[in-house]
């Protein structure tokens, strides 16, 4: 009797052990905590787990810098989470799991037509569904209207050029004793807005880096603004390499009249600036070529190494349902990437009237974006170009290079990066 119960226990134990992986369906999704991130997804993930007992979705918050620097190395070694919200959409495309068998392809293609292409790493023939674009972000400028009012200066109208904005904000800064007229995040993505509006192509149709007169004009203009004190040296001048840096605190403390950031800081702007002063988002400043800003955004992607492709696919498909997606977007105060949601519109119940207006301004810039901006966003080597831009422009600002030297180096850096990546 004793022996048989022992055997029964052993058999049960072996059975439990063998069936454990089949029973425990669990995935890990990593994301940051800003905007469309782990915090805003959590309620939807909870709902998913409630409706699917036995299936667990672990959301792990990591800093944005880790997503940029550590995640690619993990993925290259075949490790890492089952899924993540990434912003280097094309650069990591080789690791993405094609979700076609697990989601509704027709809905995905209809909803995310343009942005799905960014996830294919420039492969024009691919039809893979490599993830779900979470939100569309748009670069843009925020201005301190209170300072404009105090200075008695008219806010430049829609269609005003970069130079007109610089002149107006300088006038405001001088009249109000504000330290700087304009600030731009130290980011190649932000600079690309200025460059493309000045006629820069940055990347050709066949995926080669383009260094042209448009880029030269943008760099020259940018350097001039730093030299005459329109922009502070702290961001682009004081930092080296590819380091991303922003001085949102300067706008918060009214140390700058215009801050060029993007739509992802809207909720932070709403919460932290609040009623300290009056502010608004401005339409894309114009250059000689176009009035464009850069599109961007994140995507929730699954990775090929996951051992739970069905569960990841099911979760992403669940999140892509309009009611779930709009719930997250409303909490994140972000612009939808899904066309159905753009058409139907989203209500942002927690956001102030000013934020709603700002969102409307950002959304209004989307149709005006130059084709070069979309092309650059979907380029596999976009980051190589952005890193070269930040590194070399900083060197120009510090007198280590002249503009010609910088242009030569930018082209060389990107070509060397492509050459190294494609070495056979």
């Amino acid at each position: 009797m004793k022996l048989s119960s022992l055997r029964l226990s052993c058999a049960f134990g072996v059975l439990m052990f063998a069936s454990a992986p089949a029973l425990a369906q669990e995935i890990t999704v990593v994301c940051d905590d800003l905007g469309f991130g782990c915090n805003t997804i959590q309620p939807v993930a909870d709902k998913f787990m409630e409706e699917n007992p036995g299936k667990t979705v672990n959301l792990e918050i990591v800093p944005y810098q880790s997503m940029v620097e550590s995640l690619p190395v993990q993925l290259a070694s075949g490790e890492g989470p089952d899924a993540a919200i990434v912003t280097d959409l094309g650069g990591l495309s080789r690791y993405y799991l094609d979700l076609t068998p697990y989601v509704d392809p027709a809905t995905f293609n209809e909803n995310f037509e343009q942005t799905l292409q960014w996830l294919r790493g420039g492969d024009a023939e691919s039809t893979a569904i490599n993830g779900m674009p979470t939100s569309l972000t748009v670069n843009g400028g925020y201005v301190n209207l209170t300072l404009f009012e105090q200075a008695g200066v008219e806010v430049p109208p829609e269609g005003a050029t970069w130079q007109e904005w610089a002149a107006a904000t300088r006038e405001v800064a001088e009249a109000t004793g504000t330290e700087f007229a304009m600030e731009m995040d130290r980011s190649g993505h932000r600079f690309a807005s200025l460059a493309i509006s000045h006629g820069a192509e940055l990347v050709s149709e066949d995926g080669k880096p383009v260094v042209d007169d448009g880029l030269r004009a943008a760099i020259e203009q940018f350097v001039e603004w730093h030299q005459d004190g329109t922009m502070p040296m702290d961001l682009w001048g004081a930092v080296g390499g590819a380091t991303h840096r922003e001085l949102f605190s300067d706008f918060l403390n009214a140390n700058t009249v215009l801050y060029f950031g993007g739509s992802w800081t809207l909720s932070q702007m709403d919460q932290e600036v609040g009623d300290l002063f009056d502010w608004k988002v401005i339409p894309a400043p114009c250059g000689p070529s176009s009035c464009t800003v850069m599109p961007g955004g994140g995507a929730l992607v699954a990775f090929q190494h996951t051992d739970q492709p069905e569960l990841v696919g099911a979760f992403i498909n669940y999140l892509a349902q309009p009611e779930n997606l709009s719930q997250v977007l409303a909490a994140a105060v972000e612009i939808p990437a899904a066309s159905t949601l753009i058409e139907s519109g989203i209500e942002y119940p927690g956001a102030s009237e000013r934020t709603q207006e700002a969102l409307a301004t950002f959304i209004a810039q989307i149709p005006k974006m130059a084709p070069a901006a979309y092309r650059f966003q979907g380029w596999r080597y976009q980051r190589a170009m952005m890193n070269a831009l930040t590194t070399r422009i900083s060197q120009v600002l510090n007198g280590e290079l002249d503009v010609d030297g910088a242009l030569e180096r930018i082209e060389q850096d990107v070509n060397l990066a492509i050459e190294a990546a494609e070495a056979q």
Binding site: A238, G240, A242
Partner: protein, 332 residues
């Protein structure tokens, strides 16, 4: 036999149980491989650790430096010969980085060649001065030892963020200067001041460690030597140059070697404080290697590996020189 002796014998017998248990095994092994090979058997665990964690990575690094692509797995990386080395060493004029194919590598090397001697000299000088002060009969000596050692315990990122907060345009230092009626200075925007603060911050962060070592060295010098010098009316300076420095030389050499190694490895503090800027004024070798290999897309592991091996060769030469000096010193 006393009770304590009995207890000691019993404890000894118990303690030697494992030894007695493996004795036949060892005897058998010795018989099989011979007594001359037995030391290798005992060294095996450490040797394996050294091979696995030190030698193997070096060989992997060498392999990577001869391969291309941004793939991580060695099997996916094509062999490209000495291309990475050729790219790094391709220079019109080695004294002018702008003529080099990889100008930032040469800028980083040049910066490192200035940063390391400056930082090491400042570090040892200030640490020695502090150790001498702390070795004297001052009030609150224990407290000050703690104060000087405190930064060593801080994370480099915390150190860098703290100093960034102090040095930025709207930082504490400028706040104080403005209150005193001076014009604020954008400390991290100008190449020279950013370099100065880079040296200063790294010295501040690590000085305590070397101070403690030097303090131990100072305390090991017999007091009677100083008393004899005092009786001979030797001045403080003479006592320092004729007694303190010569007797402290072995400790100073250790401190020097440790400080140089740490200085060459400088990365985290400056990466956070200046990001290698302004421009490339504070870009050092390790940051260059990190950026090429890990921070930029696509990641160029091969070039980063080649750059780190070139740095390794420079360090090897430096270490050989140090060893030579150290041997000369111990012989003398």
């Amino acid at each position: 036999m006393s009770a304590s002796l009995r207890i000691a014998r019993a404890t000894g017998a118990v303690a030697s149980l494992p030894a007695r248990a493996i004795e036949p095994l060892m005897a058998g092994l010795q018989k099989a491989i011979g007594i001359k090979k037995m030391p290798w058997f005992f060294l095996l665990p450490n040797l394996l650790a050294v091979i696995l964690f030190s030698l193997l990575p070096v060989f992997v690094n060498i392999f990577y430096s001869f391969t291309g692509s941004d793939r991580l797995y060695p099997s996916q990386r094509p062999f490209i010969g000495t291309y990475n080395y050729e790219t790094l060493l391709d220079c019109g004029n080695y004294l002018d980085p702008s003529t080099c194919s990889r100008d930032l590598f040469w800028r980083a090397l040049g910066n490192s060649l200035v940063f390391v001697p400056t930082q090491v000299a400042a570090m040892i000088g200030i640490a020695l001065l502090t150790a001498i002060c702390l070795n004297g009969n001052i009030r609150g000596r224990g407290f000050f030892r703690g104060v000087f050692f405190f930064p060593v315990m801080l994370s480099p990122v915390v150190v860098a963020l703290t100093w960034q907060w102090i040095l930025q345009r709207t930082g504490v230092l400028n706040g104080i200067l403005t209150n005193l009626g001076f014009e604020p200075v954008n400390w991290l925007v100008y190449a020279n001041s950013a370099f100065f603060w880079s040296v200063f911050v790294t010295v501040w962060a690590h000085m305590g460690f070397y101070t403690i070592i030097l303090l131990a060295g100072l305390q090991a010098i017999p007091r009677d030597v100083y008393e004899a010098a005092k009786m001979d009316s030797a001045s403080h300076w003479r006592a320092f140059t004729r007694i303190t420095l010569p007797l402290l030389k072995p400790v100073l050499l250790v401190v020097f070697i440790l400080a140089v190694i740490r200085s060459v490895q400088t990365f985290d503090e400056l990466y956070v404080l200046t990001g290698g800027g302004p421009g490339s004024a504070t870009l050092l070798m390790v940051q260059y290697i990190y950026e090429i290999g890990f921070a930029v897309q696509p990641r160029n592991f091969g070039l980063a590996a080649a750059a780190s091996l070139l740095l390794g060769i420079v360090l090897l030469i430096f270490t050989l020189v140090q060893l030579r000096i150290s041997r000369g010193s111990s012989n003398g």
